[in-house]
Symmetry: C2
Subunit: 243 residues, 2 copies
DNA sequence: GTCGACCACTTGTCCGGTCGAGTGACCACC
DNA sequence: GGTGGTCACTCGACCGGACAAGTGGTCGAC
């Protein structure tokens, strides 16, 4: 197979060329790019092809286009450091016996924020699956996944044995449900007695508590992830543009 | 002035028309949109104008385009509920005496995470501006803004009097600095003695601690916001797509 | 029933052209 | 020195055309 078969479209080639020149300093931050008509000549392309490339670079944050003035280098866009989305991670994780342990699984009654998150009345039954995440063999995080009965029926989620592919994959495979969106609530509180015991914490240790609802495309709850992160072990990071 | 002067570009009109039809059910979710050439005829536009509109709708998540098949309705994109960005809010807020009180302001030495965040050696001087946020007259949040000396010079930030427009506007006006990006670190910890006193907390109260770096377009730190949210009063919310 | 060819339809890429709107520099006039 | 007009340059919107690549249905041959 000839390498010609894999040539990206011209507009993509222009995007890449300009990105490289910004990265290697040929086009310094704050400076003006060559005009569209110069680029037309340089790249041997049509103007709208060049414009298409420039519009993509503008959308991505590499450059800024000003009507009547030209295009200016903004710089290498900082890829928004993807916030460690604790809820998503908890739901997505595979169950590796080297780094986690299923503490229990089965049918339980829901209460408080979990009942709210599942949209069930207090005391309703749901399927619960709890695991302790270990780092270097030490308890680091407690994750409890909750599933509505109808979602969990026909799966192994209520069984204490390891599902090595993890709950999400298992659910997708067996029930064909796909998560579309996740909403999280996050607070600082003191660890409960149970959490203190399972996580081997000191009495009165502050934790980050995260309750994440895992929703499908129709906004039905397919799972709730209850994540407990001891304050002295965990810090969440986030990065976003200023308005 | 004739209303014609405010007519949006044609491609924007097409975007809006299609959005409305998706919203009112004319184009149901999952169904196929009319082809490009049909739209050319309907909207009396050029094909590339129609394509431009469709590409925007695709980028926004309203539709999905498949080569050789057509365009399909995805649905009304869930606007990611903007996470309450505590760091940004803290930096942006105006200083309204009805809802906040400046507790102190002036030159201080930096230490620990604040020194790190400012990129200064331990013990270096910086300008500090602390305010207590009140809700219904009760202490609710403690915000300490830190500024490098060079950034704060020539401003009123080290003065305890109220800057009603807020630190950010003041800084932008006086020093022409513009924030471009914000990075946050967030943890659960116990309130310090000072925080306990200022916020009228019980001993040993867990708080959400947020240290936000406010960066300009060249990634220089223009401010650090140190935000303390008592756990029993505050909960952060976030919403994001599942991968 | 299966497979391949053909066809109509569809989107993807690319080109070239025109006109409008905006910017900044320069020059003439007051 | 200030103001207004002009000009060259620049990007924004829009059009039309051509060819490539992909999809799905139909039909004929085996």
């Amino acid at each position: 197979m000839s390498s010609l078969e894999f040539a990206p479209p011209k507009y993509v080639q222009i995007v890449h060329a300009i990105q490289e020149r910004i990265q290697d300093g040929t086009y310094p931050v704050g400076e003006k790019l060559p005009s569209e008509s110069r680029m037309v000549r340089e790249f041997g392309a049509g103007r709208s092809t060049v414009v298409r490339a420039l519009q993509i670079l503008s959308l991505q944050g590499w450059i800024e286009r000003e009507h009547g003035r030209g295009s200016f280098v903004r710089g290498i866009p900082q890829v928004a450091a993807e916030r460690s989305h604790a809820g998503a991670s908890a739901f997505d994780a595979s169950e590796d016996p080297k780094s986690s342990r299923i503490t229990n699984a089965g049918r339980e009654s829901v209460a408080g924020p979990i009942a709210d998150a599942l949209g069930l009345p207090e005391g309703s039954p749901a399927i619960m699956r709890r695991r302790l995440v270990l780092i270097a063999g030490e308890p680091s995080e407690l994750v409890t996944l909750w599933f509505p009965l109808d979602v969990a029926s026909g799966t192994d989620l209520d069984d204490g044995r390891v599902i090595s592919i993890g709950a999400r994959e298992h659910l997708q495979m067996v029930k064909k449900v796909r998560p579309a969106r996740i909403t999280e609530r996050l607070s600082a509180r003191l660890a409960t007695e149970q959490e203190t015991a399972l996580l081997s914490l000191d009495e009165g240790t502050p934790v980050l508590g995260i309750v994440a609802r895992i929703l499908d495309a129709s906004d039905n709850v397919i799972a709730v992830a209850d994540v407990v992160l001891p304050g002295d072990l965990h810090e969440l990071e986030d990065s976003y543009p200023a308005a």
